[in-house]
């Protein structure tokens, strides 16, 4: 189990394209967007601070969602999942290893955005806020890791990439990771506030405002996590019986 996690991590860190999109790319967008001065309506946060949390969340989302869904779908198809079932590795070990390695890659994508924000854009926060932000965004990414696993067991072949992309961009944009959802028309805001990505970014914003995360956001994330993890488990069992 440990050795599979280690190998999954080695493999993820070796994939330059994947590392670029999950670790470098969010920081690049951060630098492009955070050039404006002023505050974001309704939050009292500077644009740099607001975008920092959005991009850290976006980076973590990329790391856990993109890698897992496509790999799982592909490895189901090419028979690696079957091969692993001929080893003493428990069935859930494969999914756990995938999730653990995604979490390892998502951590640098969060921290790199923070470092760029602090060094280049002079974002200043208390020490506890930095730590709490890192912890909250990292833990929150588990919700999307579960979603990635579920997609990997749901879709197959050529379908998995477009499906992942639609969900990924849909959640990122509608959840307000790219533009503050306060710029959306009201009807869209009503939808956006129920999305997991919106609640996810709201965790970090609350910490930046020196508040504890809102109960509504935490509850929403917990419910989504239960939904995605339950769905992934159900799809996994279905796949095992079929293979």
């Amino acid at each position: 189990m440990k050795s599979l996690i280690k190998l999954e991590i080695t493999r993820a860190l070796r994939n330059r394209k994947f590392l670029f999109f999950s670790v470098i790319y969010p920081s690049v967008i951060f630098l492009l967007v955070s050039n404006q001065t002023g505050t974001v309506d309704g939050t009292g946060l500077s644009i740099a601070k607001y975008v920092m949390v959005s991009m850290a969340s976006f980076g973590a989302l990329t790391a856990v969602l993109m890698g897992n869904s496509e790999r799982i779908a592909k490895e189901r198809e090419n028979g690696w999942v079957r091969q692993l079932r001929l080893t003493p590795l428990p069935g859930r070990g494969y999914v756990l290893a995938k999730t653990a390695s995604a979490a390892v890659v998502s951590l640098p994508s969060i921290v790199v955005v923070f470092i760029v924000a602090a060094v280049v854009k002079d974002v200043r926060l208390d020490a506890w806020q930095w730590l709490a932000l890192t912890g909250a965004i990292w833990a929150g990414s588990l919700v999307f890791a579960a979603l990635g696993v579920a997609i990997g067991y749901l879709a197959s072949g050529d379908a998995v990439r477009p499906i992942t992309m639609i969900i990924y961009f849909g959640l990122s944009i509608l959840g307000g990771l790219w533009f503050p959802s306060s710029t959306f028309p009201t009807w869209l805001q009503d939808i956006a506030k129920w999305l997991p990505t919106h609640a996810y970014a709201a965790l970090g914003q609350a910490i930046e405002q020196s508040q504890s995360p809102h109960a509504k956001d935490v509850t929403l994330l917990v419910v989504y996590f239960a939904l995605f993890a339950g769905g992934a488990a159900w799809l996994y069992r279905k796949d095992t019986l079929k293979a």
Partner: protein
């Protein structure tokens, strides 16, 4: 108490199928299959494509569940046997992890096995030392097969299961592969492999199970199976009125068909049959002797079996 356990252990078959059936929709892939493999045997599961070989192995390895009947490996469920490290398997459909090197993958297999061998030994035995640093997705078909073999033999398993292991290998790789396999068998392991090559079954196995349409058609030594499935077809024309009785009494015949002036017979020993044919004092024209394809041989055996039952 201890003595009783020992007795039980020696009589428990390595693999036991009891009236096992498995269907996909309306297709019966495995149909009431019963068999027992014993420790130390090297067994070939022989049959044409679609005979149910892969499904049988999937059931044996717990990758599929039987609709009815019972599958046991070392007296336990297939999964329990695998968790105990007693089974090493190489599947046709078994994929490999991409983007890692062959060496890393073999190390993973060793780490996962409860009774692992040293990584270097596994690599050397599978003959993949030269490609150990290569990425898995850059391998040829034959190389990938050898990596799969390395994964199947990463630890000290008591049963090794191989599904058409030499697919994609050239002749020399094939020979090298079976030499390695024989070493495994010589160390007292039970080896079960599926193949559709009669020659492979003949050269390697000391017991051959013939599977056709999901049923066990024959179970015997390779010599016995070869006699059954190695039949040849002899055809010739005779002039004038044909006296069938002496032809039907030719040695080693399995079937005779006379239509017009043409006579078609099947024989398990064509040399002896043709020799005896000339001994009848007839003058056969257009004499042809041809090997029966394995598939046709199976059909012939099936028909013979069905004729016996009715």
């Amino acid at each position: 108490m201890g003595a009783m356990t020992t007795t039980a252990a020696t009589t428990t078959p390595v693999v036991g199928f009891d009236q096992v059936s498995k269907s996909y929709g309306s297709v019966r892939a495995v149909d009431g299959l019963s068999l027992a493999l014993h420790a130390g045997e090297t067994v070939a599961l022989l049959g044409p494509n679609g005979a149910g070989k892969s499904t049988t192995l999937d059931l044996l390895l717990g990758l599929k569940q039987a609709d009815t009947g019972k599958v046991e490996v070392f007296g336990t469920s297939p999964r329990e046997a695998i968790v105990a490290g007693r089974v090493g398997a190489m599947l046709q459909s078994g994929g490999l992890m991409d983007e890692v090197t062959v060496g890393e993958l073999v190390k993973l297999a060793c780490d996962l096995h409860p009774k692992p061998y040293k990584v270097g030994d596994v690599i050397a035995r599978a003959g993949i030392g030269q490609i150990a640093d290569r990425k898995v997705n850059k391998l040829s078909g034959g190389q990938a097969q050898r990596v799969r073999f390395a994964l199947a033999t990463a630890g000290d398993s008591d049963l090794i299961v191989l599904d058409e292991p030499t697919t994609g290998m050239d002749v020399s790789a094939r020979q090298a592969f079976w030499a390695t396999m024989r070493e495994q068998a010589d160390q007292g392991r039970t080896v079960l492999f599926a193949t559709h090559y009669l020659e492979e079954a003949d050269a390697i196995a000391d017991r051959v199970l013939v599977l056709h349409r999901g049923r066990l058609l024959a179970d015997g030594t390779s010599a016995e199976i070869k006699a059954k499935a190695g039949a040849r077809r002899i055809a010739f024309d005779l002039d004038g009125e044909i006296d069938e009785a002496p032809i039907r009494s030719l040695p080693f015949l399995t079937s005779v068909d006379v239509s017009g002036q043409t006579i078609r017979i099947q024989s398990t020993d064509a040399d002896a049959t043709v020799h005896a044919l000339y001994g009848l004092g007839v003058y056969p024209r257009n004499l042809e002797v041809a090997g029966l394809g394995l598939e046709q041989a199976f059909v012939a055996i099936t028909e013979a079996e069905e004729a016996k039952q009715s």
